[in-house]
Chain length 421, copies 2
């Protein structure tokens, strides 16, 4: 008898009908003899509706109260899911993040899990019940106030509970069949990946693959918890995220997949004095404004001027804050101007096999050149090559690279409607 | 500096606009120098919407999960109210029933408050914050599960918190100006009562006056906590519920008011053997089925038959259960039949002065006779006379009695739209 943690996202429980379908899936697992802990997100648009209410009463609601408000969402979905399971003749009990022992920092809106003390969940399992836990939420260890974990928080809740309970696997149910070699909406013959290491999955998630959030994969790697990504709507075997690159056999696939990202913008700081400390002051400013910087390129200083241009990419959502923060230091740094470009796209090629095959980057750039894609920025890691190009070139670039490395499968991938949280 | 507990019902916080109005009222009290604890119900129709969702997933949802679901309602309203107060520049913190220390029995759906340990509320007040507490909910002392208090639960929460905190007054904000000598929708010149004792208010509440629930008044009397009933929509001084009949001056008003109730039905058990124990077995059956019986009348045995009829009133909502339970014992008790009549109305005249004025009942029946109202059942207490009549006669009867005892005021009462929870 195994212990399985299952996580269902907001679109999987968007209405009463879907909640009943999910209940059947959970009961099927229980019937097979496994103990089950389920982590559930808020139903469909509930979070957006609650945010809308908050904006109607206050332009800048305090984080503590916003967390109190938003956590009502999972409270509703988890209670309904427990009722639906009861109705199938199985005992189910719902628990808030606080009741499930999810202890966090006190940073409202993006708290981090410090510890998990799942005593009540163990008690429920011991009595033969299915435990339903609210995702995305916890309680501050210091202040005892209710907190939320931020984007992708439900996935993190699931992995953290699985680790704390010593579960055999953490199943993340979503609206796609698993992890693919590229986005099937762009590359019709994208192939589903059967198994992928934590490191590769981390690079994919960091480079725009939306199927799993970075934090959740980091957590799983830290505790060695296997993640099984599966579809809520099919019986496809899905993708297993487990194991380290170090343990991979030599005959592994060279390349895992292609990720792309349209959510970033590029800021160029023009005419920065080419002297020690200028770049440091610029990126200190960005860090102080809590801007997440991704890629950075500094041009060679234009001869004779003593000045250079620095470009970096960042999430579009951080764009206005970053531009304002940089404007404030223009006089002090004495740079000439700021350019903001949100029509860029990022493409990344990821593969653990890349480490021992120096020819990969060459083939990658060759494929892009043949497709007529102009490269604006480049960055690399041990198992990844990323480029920034025009966003209008991105689809062509993804297809070209995917084909060049022969990643396609025989069949077309199935794409489901809807999005997860 | 006083400590004031204020309770706002669902219609007072039905939308963002009303929440902002309530926030202003609360801040006004704080500005006047008082410490404020606010108890709030779920917004408008939230509870009904959640119940509807529950019915979509399960015909008979388990009580534990239903309570978990419904308590999401106050979580939303209290967080929004705290945000709205923040927006006016005052510190406000929301607390669930559990966080506020409302410890209850574990009977889901109608738990009773066992104890209140408001340590976190005291802490918030000590730091100058306004504490917002979810009404209608608590946490089971034994199982640590979330519970709800049943109908009128938010009023009870408010009085219980006021008592535990040693508040100076518990203000119940509602959609009427206060307690009236009769329902102003039936009696246009009904007069608002300035001050009323706990005993009289208990009788009014038990006899159908909807402004305060019986349990809340019982709680207030037990702890000697004054209740101030006020309108959320006006600055009318409202009604104070405080003090005992025993302390009333001799020159007090004879009669307090007229209450009516359309929510009861009458069951008649026909042809009950007129022998010891028959009635006992009937009412044991009713008690076993958790039926709340109100008035009982047993006719004189019809001469020669050795049989009698027994009639009693009960809430219409208990009607089907009671009829089924009684049918099951028909053979054993050997009664002849059951009649169910849900077209009855109850009218009650209440007044502490009644104790020392034996003529009140005579004038009461005289007024009903002159109005052509046929009386079907009668019951009395020390400070109350109640009758059951046809529901179609009820309005006429209320107006006749109200006029006979000269209860009317000079001005017409103001009636507001909407209903509270």
């Amino acid at each position: 008898m195994a212990l399985v943690v299952q996580k269902y996202g907001g679109s999987s429980v968007a209405n009463a009908e879907r909640i009943k379908r999910v209940a059947e899936r959970i009961v099927d697992t229980r019937k097979a003899g496994d103990d089950v802990v389920v982590v559930v997100s808020a139903m469909g648009d509930t979070t957006d509706e609650l945010l809308d209410l908050a904006n109607q009463v206050s332009p800048l609601p305090p984080g503590r109260e916003l967390d109190m408000l938003l956590t009502a969402g999972e409270r509703i979905s988890m209670a309904l899911l427990a009722m639906a399971i009861h109705n199938l003749g199985y005992e189910a009990r719902s628990y808030t993040g606080s009741q499930a022992g999810v202890l966090t920092t006190s940073t409202h809106g993006r708290a981090r899990i410090i510890d998990v003390t799942p005593g009540r969940l163990r008690g429920a399992l011991d009595e033969g019940a299915i435990a339903i836990v609210a995702g995305f939420q916890g309680v501050s260890q210091d202040t005892k106030d209710i907190t939320t974990l931020g984007r992708g928080g439900s996935d993190t809740t699931a992995v953290a509970l699985a680790a704390a309970l010593g579960a055999d696997v953490c199943e993340i149910y979503t609206d796609v069949d698993g992890v693919f070699t590229a986005d099937p909406r762009i590359v019709p013959d994208a192939r589903q990946i059967t198994r992928i290491t934590y490191e590769e999955m981390l690079e994919l998630a960091a480079c725009g693959a939306k199927v799993l959030m970075l934090r959740c994969v980091e957590y799983a790697r830290r505790f060695g918890m296997p993640i099984h990504v599966r579809s809520s709507y099919s019986t496809n075997p899905g993708t297993i995220v487990a194991g380290s690159m170090e343990d991979l056999p030599v005959e592994q696939a060279l390349i895992t997949g292609v990720a792309h990202d349209r959510s970033e913008a590029k800021i160029t700081i023009v005419g920065v004095p080419d002297e020690p400390g200028a770049a440091a002051r610029i990126f200190e400013t960005a860090a102080g404004a809590e801007i997440n910087i991704d890629m950075i390129v500094q041009n060679v200083s234009t001869e004779g001027t003593g000045r250079t241009d620095i470009s970096f990419t960042l999430p579009k959502t951080d764009g206005p804050t970053a531009m304002a923060a940089l404007s404030r230091i223009q006089e002090r740094i004495e740079f000439k101007g700021l350019l903001y470009d949100d029509h860029v796209g990022k493409l990344s090629l990821i593969g653990a096999g890349m480490r021992s095959h120096p020819g990969v980057a060459a083939s990658f750039f060759q494929a892009l050149a043949e497709a007529g894609v102009n490269i604006e920025m480049i960055s690399t890691s041990e198992i990844r090559v990323s480029v920034v190009c025009r966003d209008t070139d991105l689809d062509v670039a993804v297809r070209a690279v995917h084909a060049a490395f022969d990643l396609g499968g025989a069949e077309e991938a199935v794409v489901y409607a809807g999005t997860g949280r």
